[in-house]
Symmetry: C2
Subunit: 208 residues, 2 copies
């Protein structure tokens, strides 16, 4: 089975798992139920996911991937604020993507379910690597330099806070254009504060 097919299977299971988690809670949902709902045996479920909580990963990855993609296309001569304003959609094909609500719902769930939050934080940390690569390519600093890793982690952290806010705002007032725009604006502003040092950081330092 190809990697892509495997990923599709994981995503399919993820959708069912998130729905069950939302309906009756994480604790009240067993691996057996997830497997049954997704139409696979329990054995294959555990082959796809190490724990039942990690069943939410494929959907959560969508949100992170959307931001990474936007960051990746950030032109060298543009302000990050400006670039995000036109290039960042929380989910790439937001309007047509039926997963949009599910993604925000699961992010909201992570706020109350520690095990889900832990899985979420792990995903985000893995994303820091790719953020660092993007920043490295941009600044010319080697990707493993301390300053660069620190900046990447900071960017990721700001992005996390913004996404959490969006998730609860969307639950309160729906996924309106205003909410989304506000989210982008807040995120871009906070990021520009944190990345302000980027040009300084691009000059190699003794302690890098």
């Amino acid at each position: 089975m190809s990697d892509e097919q495997r990923e599709l299977q994981r995503l399919d299971i993820s959708r069912h798992a998130v729905r069950l988690f939302a309906e009756r809670g994480v604790a009240a949902t067993s691996g057996e139920q997830i497997a049954q709902t997704a139409g696979v045996s329990e054995r294959t479920l555990w082959r796809c996911f190490r724990t039942k909580e990690s069943c939410v990963e494929p959907l959560l990855t969508k949100a992170i991937e959307a931001f990474r993609a936007a960051l990746h296309t950030w032109p060298a001569d543009t302000e990050l604020t400006e670039h995000l304003r036109e290039a960042y959609e929380v989910v790439p094909d937001w309007s047509s993507d039926t997963d949009a609500e599910a993604v925000l719902a699961v992010i909201r769930m992570t706020l109350d379910e520690p095990a889900l939050r832990a899985a979420y934080l792990m995903l985000r940390e893995r994303a820091e690597d790719t953020f660092a690569e993007v920043l490295a390519e941009r600044t010319g600093v080697e990707p493993d330099a301390f300053v660069l890793r620190a900046q990447a982690a900071a960017v990721s952290a700001v992005f996390k806070v913004a996404t959490d806010r969006l998730a609860v705002d969307a639950a309160a007032s729906g996924i309106s254009t205003e909410v989304l725009d506000r989210h982008r604006e807040q995120l871009a502003n906070a990021l520009s504060l944190v990345t302000r040092g980027l040009s300084d950081a691009s000059r190699p330092r003794a302690d890098g």
Copy 2:
């Protein structure tokens, strides 16, 4: 039993658990073994810790608490860089504290053991709240403002990267004064990049 006594019990168990984890690995260490080594029943172990991986929390908390304490005493008229240089010790009473090596060892373990890493990241995120409080008191912005939470998360993220580096450096070249100083210096520099926007952020914004 007082909260303090409970915390001492947790710390005691934590020491035993970390030693076992280091000796034979996390997977090869059962909750029963941890309980037995710590001299309590398995039942009380599960009353103190939700999972066997969370047995490392009390020791990890020490490292985070040390930084929080340093941040807390940051005077308003001082540069963070300068303050950390004189106020921050990775573990408060480093030289006399026999837990110092254990703390760094468990941080190193989190780099290879996903379940431990997840527990670590959860602890760090809880600490963001207290960072935000400190920054709020300092800047006068309400603690829940988005910019402030973002800054707190960024500070926490930079601190995380620095601590990870310290842990592997200390394993390679021992816990020497040079390593510790270098750590403080890197941390302070990176933090000053990230907190550079703090004075701007203290002016209330429409989207805060």
